[in-house]
């Protein structure tokens, strides 16, 4: 796709970004397609509700076990009370009725949105073109350099600004094709109806309580992902990055050439 000629950047002036506002050679590069943007923001809402409602459900029974059995008094592998929040205090914070209603509602929003995104991505070649790392990207030297850049909090170079980094690609692929299916299945493995239909779910995760524990560990992994994701966006230019996920266009200034 062609590059768009720059227009005066009002947003940059409003946001007191004189460097961007002044720069003469500004180019808008198309970055995110319509589908990616719509799915992304629906996902933000759905995943946000899933996280919040999941925490509510957990707080009403803040212990984790392994196997098929687990109840108050049974040997637990994690107790929130060991971390300073008593059973009653946790119960007062959590509301499982609200949590269950919204968890299952936004699980459907998340699932349908995700299926649309994955179906579209596979059909249009989005996965291959934008997410699948090339052989040279996976070379140890490149992986190492990418990793070191992350450790040094170095923002991506101009040439890389409109494509995903190799670690970014790997984490997105793992998130979409490994993490989300595991979260879905560990969620279903806690349901008496779905485990009656699919008893292998219990065998797959070693029991209902094991599935609940893995689902909770997955929640922590998801929180880590979100924190890192937001940090990366801030690091790579918050306004430009967030704007590109809304408008689809990413601003590249001449001064960086």
């Amino acid at each position: 796709m062609g590059q768009h000629m720059a227009r005066p950047c009002r947003l940059c002036k409003i946001l007191m970004m004189p460097k961007l506002a002044r720069s003469v050679d500004r180019t808008w590069l198309p970055l995110h397609s319509y589908n990616v943007r719509v799915c992304h923001w629906i996902n933000v809402i759905a995943a946000g509700y899933l996280l919040l409602s999941g925490i509510h459900i957990f707080l009403d029974f803040p212990e984790l076990y392994w196997g098929n059995t687990g109840y108050q008094g049974y040997p637990a592998i994690f107790k929130l009370s060991d971390w300073g929040l008593s059973w009653d205090e946790a119960g007062a914070l959590g509301n499982r009725m609200w949590g269950r209603n919204y968890h299952f509602t936004f699980a459907w929003v998340f699932l349908i949105n995700g299926l649309i995104y994955v179906g579209w991505s596979l059909r249009t070649g989005h996965v291959r073109a934008r997410l699948w790392p090339g052989r040279e990207e996976l070379a140890p030297a490149n992986l190492g350099e990418n990793f070191r850049d992350h450790l040094r909090w170095r923002e991506p170079k101009r040439a890389q600004a409109t494509s995903y980094g190799v670690l970014q690609k790997i984490s997105y692929l793992l998130l979409i094709f490994v993490f989300v299916p595991v979260m879905l299945l560990t969620g279903l493995a806690q349901s008496p109806a779905f485990t009656a239909a699919w008893p292998w779910l219990l065998d797959l995760f070693g029991g209902r309580q094991s599935a609940r524990t893995l689902h909770s560990i997955g929640t922590v992994i998801f929180v880590v992902f979100v924190v890192v994701h937001i940090l990366e966006v801030l690091l790579a230019g918050a306004v430009n990055r967030v704007r590109s996920m809304i408008t689809g266009r990413f601003l590249v200034t001449g001064e960086e050439k």
Partner: protein
Amino acid sequence: MSANSNRMVRPRRVSRRRLLASVPALGGALATGCSDVFRPPVIRGGLIGAADVLTMSTSRWLLADQPLAREFERSDIAPDFPTWGQTNPSDEEYQRHLREGFRDWRLPVSGLVERPQSFSLNDIKQLPSRTQITAHVCEQGWSAIAEWTGAPLSQLLEAAGGVKPGARYVVLDTVDRWYESIDMFEVVHPQTILAYGLNGGELPVGNGAPLRLRVERQCGYKNLKFLKSIQVVDSIAAFGRGTGGLNSDFGFHWYGGV
């Protein structure tokens, strides 16, 4: 665990046939637009209601062949099955029955059955029984495995002459004024039993003596303890706030499959 009451009698085929006939097969239900098995009696508004229907219809579609919930080994039985919620109703009449060992206790079965009547605990124990080692899955997050012995609900309804045409739900009332309803899809399931035994012994008070519902493919909150009466109805509108159960009157989903 004592091994004295491991009698396992398969429900007679004949006795379930009439009940089954009252339940539209899933395929037929789809074809005719009869959606009882796919939707709760009252659909909540908005996105939550849409998700309720999606959840229920998906699980019912997967359960179309009426598979059994997993049954476990005796070695899986929890050392001390939790007593949750109500553990000893203060109701005077209940306390009298408890003192008398439920000698005069009776369970009225009314509504859309051919011969409405009440059953003594002994009557219910004379019905063909089923013993199953299953996981109780609380919607709160805990689960525990126990061996339940009881009469299949379908056997009890058969003993009351079978259900009349138009029967859609079974409403269960409890001593502590709780109520819930389950649809015919759950009623005809072999593991849906009225349990009077736990782990080879009598059902303890804390677990709902003398009789509790086991509906193994739904969460704990549908498995009412301290049963008081059973009604077969075509509509749940007249009960409570009309949503089909006290849990759903409060705001939980009527269908406890997830």
